[in-house]
């Protein structure tokens, strides 16, 4: 491992102070900003005499104090207040379907009119599944299939020809049935979890307009609680589903 020079240590200390000062800023924005400053320092150092401690200190002085930079960055951010509709949307998307399907449409409206979610999250919320968890049950009905038996079966007669045919999921081996069922149930719950996760950040991630890269965020106690609730629901669903398949 390369040994740190005094100049490296000064730079590291500065960057640490900057990260500390940026605690109140949107984490992904702060991370991006630190990366930009880091790159700036690297570019500037290319023109300096290596080991020139005074030059490094002057360079950092010119960049600005961490506190001043954090203040400047905070001013450029537009804090997004998360409204009641935004809070309700993930739940409506997942469970709203049970309110005669109507709730899901309200959730859908909230999802597409909100600026909190990116296009990919909006598509995710819409496609998996239409109707939310109610959609899961419709999918079961559509794909679970049935076993039809044709034949002659009259009282007192020997059954001559009885042929049975399976359709839909029942054709698949039991393990695949379980897997497909699991995906059907877990997918809308994952969607709700994902929408809540984005909501918990409270900001649109401007560095990531398409919403492809997931940014690790600092979670609040409230998010942790809702995560637990989601996992408990998921576990119960899996349990019910297992009983349903095994029966």
């Amino acid at each position: 491992m390369k040994e740190l020079t005094t100049s490296d240590r000064i730079v590291e200390e500065y960057l640490d102070n900057l990260r500390d000062a940026l605690r109140s800023v949107n984490p992904s924005r702060a991370k991006e900003f630190v990366a930009e400053i880091k790159q700036h320092i690297a570019d500037a150092r290319a023109n300096l005499v290596p080991g020139d401690e005074v030059a490094i200190r002057n360079l950092l002085e010119r960049i600005g104090s961490p506190i001043a930079l954090a203040n400047e960055l905070e001013e450029t951010e537009t804090p997004r207040t998360v409204g009641g509709m935004d809070r309700a949307t993930p739940w409506l998307i997942a469970f709203g379907g049970f309110a005669f399907g109507f709730g899901w449409f309200v959730g859908l409206y909230g999802l597409w009119t909100s600026k909190t979610w990116h296009i990919w999250d909006k598509l995710l919320g819409t496609i998996i599944w239409p109707g939310g968890l109610l959609g899961t049950f419709y999918l079961f009905v559509a794909f679970a299939g049935s076993e039809n038996c044709h034949g002659v079966s009259r009282l007192g007669q020997v059954v001559a020809a009885l042929s049975c045919s399976s359709q839909g999921l029942l054709v698949l081996p039991r393990a695949f049935q379980f897997l497909t069922g699991f995906v059907m149930v877990a997918a809308p719950i994952f969607t709700m979890f994902r929408l809540n996760e984005v909501l918990a950040r409270g900001y649109v991630d401007e560095s990531n307009r398409r919403g492809i890269r997931l940014v690790k965020s600092r979670r609040s106690a409230r998010t942790r609680t809702s995560t637990h609730v989601v996992w408990i629901i998921l576990a119960l669903m899996v349990l019910f589903f297992y009983i349903f398949v095994a029966a």
Binding site: E36, Q39, R62, G64, A68, L69, E206
Partner: protein, 117 residues
């Protein structure tokens, strides 16, 4: 909205700097696409324009959010890839309108100041 008081020159300059610097960045990008360090170096070379170089980055973000510039990454011969900033058509329009207004504003202020000197 804060009211200007006599003696608040520093604050006034800071506000003017903040307002004008965005257009200076756009002007720099008219000739060619540039990366962050290049932009800050050009701005620092002009006297009184940038007090702390680091503050240029939040400003670049704001310009990008407003759609006046866009960015792309390009390989660098001296290290990791760099983010380049490029002016957009709406950035060009914003700059053009600022240049017109700025010229009128500067001339009016100069006229009054030179008369009263």
């Amino acid at each position: 909205m804060s009211y200007m008081v006599v003696g608040g020159t520093d604050k006034l300059l800071a506000q003017m700097r903040r307002g004008a610097i965005e257009y200076c960045v756009l002007a720099l990008l008219m000739s060619k696409d540039r990366y962050g360090f290049e932009i800050t170096r050009e701005l620092s070379a002009a006297n009184e324009l940038v007090t702390s170089e680091g503050t240029v980055y939040p400003l670049l973000t704001r310009l990008r959010n407003d759609g006046l510039v866009d960015t792309y990454w390009q390989e660098s011969t001296e290290g990791p890839p760099r983010r380049y900033y490029r002016i957009t058509p709406s950035g060009k329009r914003a700059l053009k309108s600022f240049i017109d207004q700025w010229a009128r504003f500067r001339d009016s202020v100069d006229t009054i100041l030179s008369k009263e000197r």
